[in-house]
């Protein structure tokens, strides 16, 4: 009984604030507060007409897509490489590659700016944002793919070779179909991480906006009620992607 209360309190604390934002995105009142006014889709309609949001949305999609594809490639290859190492060096390399996730994104972002602007003299922009997102997404891809590979029966690759498959055929016909769901899951998680990031994007984008930096602009200036709607859109995308990823990575084998 006590545990039930504890769990309910936890869920209230964890999910409550997020649900509030979603709830008020459908309320006619400008601010979060009760009464929330009548049910309305006005804020969403307003978003549709906002070209600034639309541009930011497109940019976010492009960045998230590129991050998903690139980090899945680099992360999967790295996971396969790590599986070939003995546990000790594998742990060290994995820890190093995971370091960017542990350090404050502020420091990571500033370091990127210092190198690209001062060190290399090249401009900032979307490619830099994407690289930064790949950096933080690839450790997650590595973890997901390694977990899948650990359960992978390598004898089935030997069996394919024994039955006449080349190395490439064995990979494509035997390994890839088996780990495909984990790869898609990893790509979705990467996309969610990219969409959720604000700090790296805000430092490295140069000009323009992602949805996150767009929301930031609104949060700083006015208490704009359309923030609730944008936040809900963002939420639906990140949570949707990660829920889908979870299903793929865990339940479909």
């Amino acid at each position: 009984m006590i545990w039930r209360i504890v769990i309910v309190l936890f869920l209230l604390f964890m999910l409550g604030p997020i649900l509030l934002v979603v709830l008020f995105s459908f309320g006619s009142n400008a601010l979060i507060g009760f009464p929330m006014g009548s049910l309305t889709f006005a804020w969403y309609r307003e978003l549709l007409g906002d070209s600034g949001f639309f541009d930011a949305f497109q940019t976010s999609i492009v960045v998230a897509l590129a991050t998903a594809i690139l980090s899945t490639i680099t992360g999967t290859l790295a996971a396969m490489g790590l599986m070939r190492l003995t546990p000790r060096p594998a742990r060290t390399v994995l820890a190093a590659l995971s370091l960017p996730v542990l350090l404050p994104p502020l420091v990571v972002a500033i370091a990127i700016v210092v190198l690209f602007v001062r060190g290399l003299g090249v401009g900032l922009g979307l490619p830099v944002v994407i690289l930064g997102h790949v950096l933080v997404a690839q450790p997650f891809v590595i973890l997901i793919v390694m977990a899948r590979l650990a359960r992978f029966d390598t004898a089935s690759l030997d069996a394919a070779r024994d039955l006449g498959a080349t190395r490439w055929q064995a990979f494509r016909l035997v390994m890839l179909p088996q780990i495909a769901s984990a790869l898609v899951g990893a790509a979705l998680v990467s996309a969610a991480i990219s969409l959720d990031d604000f700090i790296i994007a805000s430092f490295t984008i140069g000009g323009g906006n992602t949805v996150s930096t767009f929301v930031w602009g609104k949060m700083r200036t006015t208490l704009d009620p359309s923030i609730n709607a944008i936040a809900t859109v963002l939420l639906v995308m990140t949570i949707g992607l990660s829920a889908l990823a979870l299903r793929l990575a865990r339940y479909r084998e």
Partner: protein, 280 residues
Amino acid sequence: MKRGAVALLSPAGAVFAAVFAIPAVMLFVVSFWSVRSFKLSPDVSLAAWQRFFTEYWDLTLYTLLIGISTGVLCTVLGFIFAYAARFRAGRHGDLLMLATLVTLFGGYLVKIYAWKSILGADGLLNQALMLTGLTDAPLAFLIYSRSAVIIALVHFLLPFAILPIYASLRNVSDISLEAARDLGASTTQLLTRVILPQIQAGLFSAFAFSFLLAAGDYVTPMLLGGTSGSMLGQFVLLEFSTRFNWPAGSAMSFGLLLACFVVLGAAGYLMRMALRPRPA
């Protein structure tokens, strides 16, 4: 290392080098440069570091304090939640972990914004307090305070603490718990002598994650901290942007990291001491 492994690791390694390792080295080098009238010039100067140790040491301590408070709260709360999900929720355990993941991906800015709406002067909490007659004027201290920052940070970082603790709790076998019970362990003894020592790594990751990310944050204090809840990250940003003093910002970044690793080392030591096997 095998040659094939190196080839497979190289794309990830290239990204790591290009946007992390090399930039980090460069950032460190810049902390020894000097700045005159907004112009940056390569140098071997300790001015930036001097500035960090003289002007910012108290803010660094505050920042660490907020980080440690957040880290400890997240670890304790995270353990309670993970324990409930693993041992007390039965088949609903998976559902609780799903809720955790939803919170994890709930949007960084969205969460801060939500807390601003809840804790603000005309926010939900004040409305509720006034409605119930507990107060008749909005309580200003709810927002723009250190506690507002800590609440929002705990909310943001709790999933990061729950996940590693839950992962290590899953590796605690039910049989080892039954064996301990069979040998006469009480519930408290079960916790302190069997469960906690087995999940030390998970507890430490939980603390490390939540502490490091809290100590390095600047957006939360910017929106919820007011003047009393400022953190070093905001001033790193300030040095980099408006003041254009990159060396100072860089020295502060590395100074903060250094301080964080000292804290982590101490935390690891304390945890090991507290959970070491005791004679009967």
